[in-house]
């Protein structure tokens, strides 16, 4: 049973990890938690659904289409809404993201209605890949974990190994100095929101077959992703990913052994405990600026 629980923890944990990573990328770039992240992922997932079921796109073309859509949506949020704010501070940015979230939710509810849809991925929940007495792994389980790991690895390469990643880090650490070195901070911000939106969209597509598709599908996962990010330390990319998996494990084991009713609440209990003892997260290196 423990192994089976661990598998389902890793499945949900990898989705939390992607959402936490998506939150962290924009948080690091702008110091703003993007509350529209979930709705952006939801709309991108609906795009996949429409491409698949209405236009009969092949699966990979539909995924590619919604990744491009997600990138544009992220760029749109930054370029059209956030950048226009006059004398912005984090609070006004947060309000803008909440506004964007409500807009997207309204649009999705109007366009697709609030009934639940079924998205058909080529990975089946009923097809068992490996089975023994103690546990079973379905195709969907394996695909979710593998795809999430691939996305995490690509983001890792992008941030750690490319010129773009170095410029992103530079802007996060000292935006004026970055500008003085010829880095366009506006461009970095734009790309950060684009990438973050794509990562979120992939999480949305992966979670859709588990929880079914409707406009409010991302509320719970996003809050969990946010909890995971806080748990790991919003600013540490490794931390938020580990936080995501850790939260998946804690939540599932708590749900099975202690109380299924309070399964969802445990995430917020963890936030409170972490914020009390380690305000910058368990995995974040806490820097103290020398004065």
């Amino acid at each position: 049973m423990i192994v089976q629980l661990l598998i389902s923890s890793l499945v949900i944990g990898s989705i939390y990890a992607l959402l936490a990573l998506a939150m962290s990328i924009t948080y690091k770039a702008s110091e703003v938690p993007n509350f529209a992240q979930g709705e952006m992922a939801m709309v991108s997932t609906f795009i996949t659904f429409v491409l698949l079921s209405t236009y009969n796109f092949p699966f990979y073309a539909a995924i590619l289409g919604s990744i491009i859509f997600a990138f544009i949506l992220g760029v749109l949020l930054e370029f059209v809404f956030l950048r226009r704010a006059k004398n912005p501070n984090p609070l006004s940015y947060i309000i803008i993201t909440i506004g964007f979230q409500l807009m997207l939710y309204g649009l999705a509810a109007w366009k697709w209605g609030s009934e639940q849809q079924q998205i058909n991925l080529p990975f089946s929940e009923s097809k068992v890949i490996y089975q023994n007495d103690a546990f079973a792994v379905t195709e969907l389980n394996l695909a979710t974990i593998v795809i999430a790991l691939i996305v995490l690895f690509i983001v890792y390469l992008l941030i750690q190994k490319t010129k773009l990643g170095l410029a992103m880090k530079a802007c996060q650490q000292n935006v004026n100095a970055a500008k003085m070195n010829g880095i366009s901070a506006n461009f970095i911000m734009l790309v950060s929101f684009g990438i973050s939106s794509v990562v979120g969209a992939i999480a949305g597509i992966l979670i859709a077959p588990i929880i079914t598709l409707d406009p409010s599908m991302m509320w719970d996962p996003l809050l969990k992703g946010f909890a995971a990010a806080v748990l790991g330390g919003m600013k540490s990319l490794w931390g938020v990913v580990l936080g995501g998996f850790l939260l998946g494990i804690i939540e599932n084991f708590f749900g099975f052994y202690i109380s299924i009713e309070f399964k969802s609440v445990v995430a917020f209990l963890i936030i409170v405990i972490v914020l009390y003892f380690r305000p910058s997260g368990i995995f974040d290196k806490h820097y103290v600026r020398k004065v």
Partner: protein, 258 residues
Amino acid sequence: MGYFEVQGLCKSFGGLKAVDNLTFSVEEKEIFAIIGPNGAGKSTLFNCINGLYKPERGSIKFRGKELIGMRSDQIANYGIARTFQNIELFSHMTTLDNIMLGRHKAMKSSVFSVMGLSFKKSKAAKEELVHRRKVEEIIDFLELESYRMQYVANLPYGKQKLVELGRALALEPDILLLDEPAAGLTQEEKDEMIFWIRDIRKLLGITVIFIEHNMQMVKKISDRILAINFGKKLTEGLPAEVLDHPEVIRAYLGEVVD
């Protein structure tokens, strides 16, 4: 037309005129000092030159091109690098990465080019090699070899100033703006800084404009000096003239009471 020209520049914060109708020009390969008491508007002037502040009036022309209205990163890419009075480094990066970031604009290949993992013969790999070499030259030049892989947050203050100078040099600028390069340095480090600023002009052919309170340093290395107070020009000219100018002495020491 001059090489670098500031004309009628005004910048105010509320009622305070930080820079008030300032006009001066700098020749190519000159070492040009800007002096003035605290709050005279020297750093504000620098911030206007590299686009961090938007002046209300006036013009700043470099090689005939108007800089006002350009973004900071565009101005940097156009050939004006700077250091800050309170060091502005990427403190959670190594010395090498900090200086490498100065090469950002020069690295032409796509922003997605993968560093370190690219194929040996690929264009991106070759390009990276060229930039690494350039960065190593700067590290050699400033004698920072032993600090290459250290996080700059852990370096002594004097070395951090050099890393910042190195990062500015990595841009291969035509004009270098130094905001109080000697502040906070030991006497020995100050002497070294004088030596480096001279070399930057002599070996690299860079025009240096610097703000400094250390009058010995100003006297030793500058070709010409601009003295300002309350955002206005007091005088401009050769070091001996400016430093003995009664207005300058009064600005620094106050009125002589009989």
